[in-house]
């Protein structure tokens, strides 16, 4: 176990370092740099102005020196300074991370709970109306692009029905505190969470249903039924327990997107999360911010994978640690 953990940590370190270096060069290949963009957005700026900015950002140094400066900074826990915002990158990221984690975390729980629930319901009622309705809906949400669902949801539930606010994370200027504020945020969360979660709900539904049906035909289920175990209990203890593995695999993939997977949802719903920070940084060639977000994303993916590997043993004890 110890050597396993150590090995994984070493691997993770190499992977993350690789991600940083690869991204660094990829970003450098994009045309334009932050100094040019700043001057461009100002609508003027002579070359001397641009050169001065470049020198200030350290962009006048050779690329390898820039890379070394960045990597050695990261190793010291310093993610650098945003060229554009003139704020430490870590502050920017920590500022925006909670909003994203709240959104993606809630969507994760939402899709897992609803997906498994619908999957079980469909499998239990295989072939009848409920099953058809569930599988049809799952197919629709699986196939429809996210942004379209988002826009239609805003149109229907916010504009026509007026049930939920169309965007923002909370009521701006209301000055709510404590529980009132939590309630307000929850109200604002409904649309983005459902929008973001529906795709995975559809996947979990289909996976759970298919996997359950497969397990239901196995001998030990027949035995249980012959023993006279109540149907409800067979489903819960025997079938679902054995059918959950594919869902678990997919859930660990969704969990890997906790940080970087919500750009579109954040944009449509004006959610002040990290996805938008990343997108803005990309358009503005704010390299340190972009690299910082990539780094955090990579760390989360690696960490989630590690946890998932450990959890596999509990979900299915037949799987030993490699």
């Amino acid at each position: 176990m110890m050597s396993f953990t150590l090995q994984r940590v070493m691997k993770a370190f190499v992977v993350i370092l690789g991600v940083v270096i690869l991204n660094f060069f990829l970003i450098k290949m994009a045309p334009g740099d932050p100094a040019v963009i700043l001057a461009g957005e100002a609508g003027s700026g002579d070359p001397q102005f641009v050169e001065r900015l470049r020198a200030e950002f350290g962009l006048d140094q050779p690329v390898l020196v820039q890379l070394w400066n960045y990597v050695s900074g990261v190793l010291r826990g310093d993610l650098g300074f945003s060229y554009r915002n003139q704020v430490p990158v870590l502050d920017l990221i920590l500022d925006r991370l909670p909003a994203t984690l709240l959104l993606t975390g809630a969507a994760f729980v939402f899709s897992l709970v609803t997906g498994i629930l619908f999957g079980v319901l469909a499998a239990r009622n295989r072939g009848n109306v409920l099953d058809s309705i569930i599988t049809t809906l799952a197919l629709i949400f699986y196939a429809t692009p996210l942004f379209w669902i988002a826009l239609m949801a805003v149109l229907l539930f916010s504009l026509n029905l007026g049930w939920v606010p169309p965007f923002d994370m909370e009521t701006i200027g209301a000055g709510y505190t404590g529980w009132r504020r939590a309630l307000d945020i929850a109200h604002h969360m409904i649309l983005p969470v459902v929008t973001l979660g529906l795709f995975y709900t559809a996947i979990y539904t289909r996976l759970t249903r298919a996997s359950m049906l497969e397990v239901m035909g196995l001998d030990f289920v027949k035995t249980a039924r012959a023993k006279g175990v109540p149907k409800r209990r067979i489903i819960r203890r025997h079938v679902l327990r054995n059918a959950i593995l594919p869902v678990f695999t997919f859930a660990s993939m969704q969990a890997g997107q906790l940080v970087g997977g919500a750009i579109l949802t954040e944009t449509v719903f004006a959610w002040p999360g990290i996805g938008r920070l990343m997108f803005d940084a990309l358009m503005q060639r704010d390299y340190p911010v972009l690299l910082g977000v990539f780094l955090v994303t990579a760390i989360v993916v690696v960490a989630i994978n590690f946890i998932a590997d450990l959890l596999y043993r509990f979900v299915d004890p037949r799987i030993a640690i490699a």
């Binding site: 001057a39 609508g43 504009l159 965007f167």
Partner: protein, 525 residues
């Protein structure tokens, strides 16, 4: 003969009249209320001295002030300078500052702050001031606490047109002097002299400004709170206005095709005023280093081949008026009586036929502006027209960074571009044509490679002119020459529509529009 000094004095004298005219709107101003707006995209910072992007100026304009501002007719109006004089020889400018002005942290605003801005801060950080300072300004002196004198190396007829809050924002010397301006920790809590003070910035969500109780104009501002909200999706921004979450949309906040629908809602007003100082003009820039574009007849043929009324009306939903020449119609010294190139495909084809050039031998790349669907449609339309003319055209796909890089490296054949004209041709127009302004690394110079010593001489003459008539004569002549040679195809003067609810009064009062401090704006309660 009108002297610059007379113009300046007239501007100062106008103060009384303008103030009187402003205090008689419909109904009595009612204090209080909150104004919700959108800032798009989110600015990187609010320090207008360090960043002159549109969104920074929009928010920062309520926090910081300049010495002057400009009317819709571009006449200089007082702001932090209550009056000013220019010597007849054009070598001395004296500004008399408002008394009793304090920074938001309570420190007094004095002439030293102006000197600091002019001689230190802006020289290092501002994209335009450094050039003016280097070429024209000899010395800046604080004579006493409220008097600043600019000594010039030589006369500059546009000098008084560069003192608004975007061209010459005054920064607090007591906070910045002797520090590294860009990394000064005070940058996260801007301190200005304006009618609103910084309160809070939730990045990605909103910026909140509150009323400056200590503002130097008695009883102003009327409004208590300003919220600038960050809503990244254009459709969501339109919804925000429809639902009343925000009461004001600035030009560019929503797509052209939603403007009409929003403006027809009850209780909603629109205006295109308030952009006169910036006068953005959109143009097609041929790269004159290419053989095919060195032929003036080919340039004229392309100009004739484009139906600019169609572009403005069908593609931009009326958000513009076709340009009549190199100066936007709202600019000083604009001369409409120059050669025109109306849409005429037959004339265009004839020009090409007579030139003897086989256009199919000169495949060209079209560099479009990466600002979304509307701009893409225009690029596609131009491609179609050029192909009808006989060109083989491909579109260079770029994002903002790619566009700037291609422009800055002269790596384009035919590029779309637009520039602000900044109140005076010497600030925003001549830079496109000066032969010696072909410098790599910027998109806002003479990127096309136009060279005409006569044009250079005329622009210089106008810039150095001591009288308005002298400047006007030179500018008229240069407009004639440019219109005859078409080094650039002036497409249209861009219009920006401000949409707002009619409970907001006195919203647009000057030629810098929404960047003007909202001290006189009030909301009917």
């Amino acid at each position: 003969m009108t002297r610059w000094a007379a113009l300046a004095l007239a501007g100062a004298a106008l103060l009384g009249g303008a103030a009187a005219a402003q205090s008689a709107p419909e109904g009595e101003p009612t204090p209080g209320g909150t104004l919700n707006m959108i800032v798009q995209p989110e600015p990187p910072m609010l320090i207008t001295g360090l960043n002159t992007q549109g969104p920074t100026l929009y928010v920062g304009g309520q926090i910081y002030e300049g010495l002057l501002t400009y009317g819709a007719d571009l006449a200089p109006l007082p702001q932090l300078a209550e009056s000013w004089e220019a010597a007849e020889d054009g070598l001395t400018y004296t500004f008399h500052l408002q008394e009793g002005v304090n920074w938001h942290d309570g420190q007094p605003f004095t002439a030293d702050d102006v000197v600091f801005a002019a001689e230190e801060f802006l020289v290092e950080t501002h994209p335009r001031w450094r050039l003016i300072h280097e070429a024209y300004v000899e010395d800046v002196v604080a004579q006493d606490d409220t008097t600043v004198v600019f000594q010039m190396k030589k006369p500059f007829s546009a000098f008084l047109y560069g003192f608004d809050m975007s061209s010459f924002p005054i920064m607090p010397a007591h906070i910045y002097q002797g520090t590294d301006y860009r990394t000064n920790p005070a940058n996260s809590t801007p301190v200005g002299t304006g009618p609103f003070k910084f309160d809070e910035w939730q990045r990605g969500s909103y910026i909140h400004l509150v009323r400056n109780e200590d503002y130097w104009k008695e009883g102003r501002p009327y409004i208590d709170d300003l919220y600038f909200r960050v809503i990244p999706d254009a459709a969501s921004r339109a919804i925000a206005f429809e639902q009343g979450t925000v009461d004001l949309l600035r030009g560019g906040d929503v797509e052209g095709f939603t403007i009409r629908g929003l403006s027809e809602m009850p209780g909603v007003e629109t205006t295109t005023a308030g952009w006169e100082y910036f006068s953005p003009q959109m143009f097609l820039q041929p790269n004159l280093r290419q053989e095919v574009f060195q032929n003036a007849d080919i340039r004229k043929a392309i100009y004739h081949a484009l139906d600019r009324d169609f572009i403005v009306n069908a593609i931009f939903f009326g958000q513009g008026t076709p340009s009549t020449g190199p100066f936007a119609a709202s600019m000083l010294f604009h001369d409409p009586n120059v050669t025109q190139y109306p849409f005429d495909m037959d004339a265009a084809k004839e020009l090409v036929a007579n030139s003897g050039v086989d256009l199919s031998q000169h495949p060209i790349r079209l560099l479009g502006l990466p600002y979304g669907a509307t701009w893409d449609r225009m690029t596609e339309y131009v491609k179609q027209q050029l192909e009808e003319l006989g060109f083989v055209v491909s579109i260079q796909p770029v994002d903002a960074g790619g566009w700037l890089q291609a422009m800055g490296n002269f790596d384009f054949d035919l590029a779309f571009s637009f520039l602000y004209q900044y109140g005076h041709p010497a600030q925003g127009v001549s830079r496109i044509y000066y032969s010696d302004n072909q410098v790599r690394g910027t998109h806002a110079g003479n990127n096309g490679g136009y060279e005409n010593p006569e044009v250079d001489a005329l622009f210089r003459k106008a810039a150095d002119a001591l009288t308005e008539d002298e400047a006007r004569a030179a500018y008229s002549q240069v407009q004639q020459i440019l219109a005859d040679e078409v080094p650039v195809l002036w497409m249209f003067d861009m219009l920006n529509t401000t949409i707002y609810r009619d409970k907001i009064h006195n919203l647009i009062r000057t030629g810098i529009g929404l960047n003007e401090p909202m001290d006189d704006v009030w909301i009917a309660q």
